[in-house]
Structures are given as C-alpha cells and as structure tokens.
Symmetry: C2
Subunit: 313 residues, 2 copies
Amino acid sequence: MTRETGTGKYEQLLARCRSLDPVPTAVAHPCDASALAGAIEAGAKGLITPILVGPSEKIRDVAKQHGIELGKVRLIDAPHSHAAAAKAVELVRLGEAELLMKGSLHTDELLGAVVAREAGLRTGRRISHVFIMDVPTYHKVLIVTDAAINIAPTLEDKVDICQNAIDLAIALGVATPKVAILAAVETVNSKMTATIDAAALCKMSDRGQITGALVDGPLAFDNAINRDAAAVKGIRSAVAGDPDILLVPDLEAGNILAKLLTFLANADSAGVVLGARVPIILTSRADSVRSRIASAAVAMLAAHARRQLKATA
Amino acid sequence: MTRETGTGKYEQLLARCRSLDPVPTAVAHPCDASALAGAIEAGAKGLITPILVGPSEKIRDVAKQHGIELGKVRLIDAPHSHAAAAKAVELVRLGEAELLMKGSLHTDELLGAVVAREAGLRTGRRISHVFIMDVPTYHKVLIVTDAAINIAPTLEDKVDICQNAIDLAIALGVATPKVAILAAVETVNSKMTATIDAAALCKMSDRGQITGALVDGPLAFDNAINRDAAAVKGIRSAVAGDPDILLVPDLEAGNILAKLLTFLANADSAGVVLGARVPIILTSRADSVRSRIASAAVAMLAAHARRQLKATA
C-alpha cells in the first residue's frame, strides 16, 4: 500500500466530495507523524474538520518536529491513548463529531471504546470492516468485506456485514450495488457453510431482509469477477463479472484476498469501519497518502449519506 | 379419500394416458379385494398390464369370492408377501415390468425389497413419496412431497425429493413446474433449518443442481398458495400463488398438510413413490377407486417419460 499508483477511481470519489462540506472528525491519539499529517492533510483537502484528541503537548511536539502546520485546528487534551479513544468517542456521542479517525493507537484500543456497552457507539448492526480497493485490472472500485474485524462471521453477522457494505456503496454513488458472495465453489454444498450462507443471503435479499443491492452467490473468485469464467460454468448471474462488493466467507479468506490484490495486482486500498454510530477511518502506518485520503473521502461520503438519511427519517 | 368428488383434474391426466400403451406392472401380493380389483381395473382402463405376484391359489380365491374377472392376466406364484415383494422387484430388474404396484402387503415390506442393497431397485436418487392431489379450491393438480417416507430429510435428501417431484410434474405435462419450498415463515432465519434449506434449494436451482423447475422458498403456506397473501407480505415470486409442487420441511408437516387437504378441503389424493428404478404405485386400503386409478395413471405417465428418456439417452 506504499505505491502511488491507481487508475483514477479514488479521484472520482474525491470529485464527489468537492461539493460537500468537510465533516467534523474526532481524531484519536494522532501522536506520530503519519497519523497527524493524515488528519491535517484530509482537513486541508476539505474532507474533514479534524478535532485532535490526545496528549496536547506531545501532539504539538510531533507537529513541530515534522513541520506539520496545526493552524487553528481544535485540540482536546487527553493524557494517554486509552483516554483519547474514550474522549473521541464521547465527542461523537455529543454530536460534535460525525466521524472517528484512528491516530497512532492500536486498532483494538479504538474499537474497544467504540463497542463499550455504556459509553460506546454501538448500533443494532454488527461492526464490520471494508477495504475500498482501486484494482488497476478491474473496471471499478471494489469493496472487500470483511477482511479485518469479523473472524468467523455467522449468517446473522454476514447479513450486517453485507448491509454495511451495500449502504456504503450507495453512499459512494453506486445506485444498486452488486454483491458477490464468495465461496470456494459456485454450487451449494451442505458440507461448505459458506455456500449455504451464500444461498441464504441471496434469499434474504429476495425477501427484503437485505436491501438495496443485487446479491448473488455462492460464486468462486474467478466466476465472481470474470463474466467469461461464469459463462463457462453456465452461471447466469447479474452479479458475475461486475460486482461492486466481494463478501468473503471469513477473515482468513478475506485477508488473503485483499493482500493479494494489494501486492500482486497493484491495488490501492482504503479502510473504513462501518456499523457503529458513525463511520471510522482506519488507516495503518503502512498506508500511502493516497490511501489515507481515500479513506477520509469514503468516510466523508458515508457521513453525508447518514446526514441525508437522518434528515429524511 | 373415500369420496367420489374431484374437479376433473384427474380426468385430464387420464386423457393424457389414452394415446399411450399400457405399462407392464408387477403387482406385489394382491390378496384382498381392493388391491386385486385396483390392479385389474387399472388393467381394464388400459393404464397397466398387471402381472400378479403372490400365492396364486389365494389370489384366485379372492377373485372368485368378489366376482373379479382375472381373464388372461399373468399370475406368478410366490408363497408369501415377503417372497411376492422380492419376486415383483425381480421382474422389474429383468425388464419384464416397468412399474411396481403395492398389493395388500405392508408398505415397509415392499419398500424393503425395493431398497435391498443387492437385489433392489436403488438408483443414485433418494426414494421419496408424492401425493398427487386434486384440491377443489385450487386451480390445478398439486403435488405434495414428502409426506410419507422421509421423516427428517437433510438438504441432500430434499434435493432428490425436489427433483423426483419435478421430473414427475414434467411427465404429467407441466412444462416448467413451479416448486414452493414451505417453511413456517417466508423469511430466512438461521434458527429455522427449513428456511435455510429453502434458500439453499433455490440457489441450487439457479446453479443447475436442481433442474427443470422454477423454485422459490421459504414460503409460508398462505403465501405459497395465495398470490394476494404473498403480495401483502411484499414477496415477489414467480411461484407464489401458482405452485405445482409443495415441498414440505419434514414428514410431520407434510402429513398434516396432506391430511388437512384431504379431510377439510375435500381433496382427492393419489400416491406414488419415486426415485427407485421404476415408479411405485402406492395405494392404501382407504383409497377410493378414483384415487387408485389416478395413482396408476400418474405412474403410467412417469413410466412412459422414463421410456422416452431412455430412448434419447
């Protein structure tokens, strides 16, 4: 994720952001150069209005050492990473922030504050992770889920993982996202739970238990992303060859898939966590500036979609 | 099943039989009046050419006592019901009979000979039972399966049960049978296996693992047979309101459903066992002549379809 490649798909997302107001964003513990620069840069691009939450002296030191201009950015003091996570979450609960952004603390620490029973940001939905990928050899943005949080999701978990990704794709401007439910094979086999779950998810989509998308599966990876491979197998599917979303069977399969796309297919990937009260921008130290900005752009579009939903509710 | 009601649906089946040759049929142990009369009558109607298998003296006695004219019917001696079942099955294996008909022996005894590992009539398919019902308040013949043999079918069993019924419906002249997979609800719920199985069967139909039919489910009974009930629930389904086949979750549900249709909706029902090398006509002592003749007609159409399949294979 350190290359500055890509084929303009992220730029199309950024173009969608241009007409929208920056979204107030609680940045939890931005105490290293890349986390701090990421937040400030996303602010400079007009995607977010960062509210830095963490040990203020340390944040000012890091800014000074690395020539990062803090300007008039709001800074809320919190003694350590744990407190910073809790405070950032509180800002969201108070309505002062509509996005949460991970700084230099550990992902688990931030998510711990997010899923805290009393003071957290839980909703009825399960929390899930999406990679928003720009794959040079694929014709559009590809969302991969869940390759980072849910280890062995049950059918119910997959329903939420699926709906989270669908809602995001719609927020990114896809009218009716196409979801490919991946498995090792494209046929239903009661010995392979992923294929049974796939069939169940398809019917749940038929019955309105999952909404807003065209869902098909089980599909093997080849017939999911390649229409000819699907045709050879005699699969008639509105999704095969053209998915916006790949729903993977479990974390291991997802992780391998996402990493393979990144390292062998030169894909860029941006990460966002969904299903909490607000989207969470989840970048890692290895991410390129391009990936960081894309994550912020995706989260910003999701936050604006959430605003619209609230306005019409 | 003792009324002589019905609304002409069975008569349409009989009309289809008229142009076809009678099918040689091994009748196992026809040693009471109703079993013997049923076989002879189906012979007189030109549906089957009965080959009576059982204790020949006893069969002749029963015929004499009840004024049943045996005429030139072939009679093969077998000392008791067990031997009669085995001999009848052997006639099928030898190609001398293309149908098996239950006489006055117990169903389990006949099916025991059918599923015998060495000398039986097993195929790759699971054996299953269908009721072919003429329900006055429904607009066409309704096939209910499996309400008699498979107690708690697995997904794999249901695939065979479903395909057996589809093949039969096609043999009866339905170009593309519509299959409603019944459950207690029309939504997918991982706590209710029948709904998960239903979703799996639908996808298996999509993927060509089940062929020749339009399959939809889970459907509750009301939205399966009534288009308005489905519309109220927002179910878009090519099957709802118009199924040819109701696939029930298990034997208990199926048995209640079939009996309710018979006793409270004045339905006539004919019974056939499918999935063995040849169709098996399974009538019970309580059956009306109408039901017996309908069973023979259904089996005869299935046997002719099997002939055609063999000829083109």
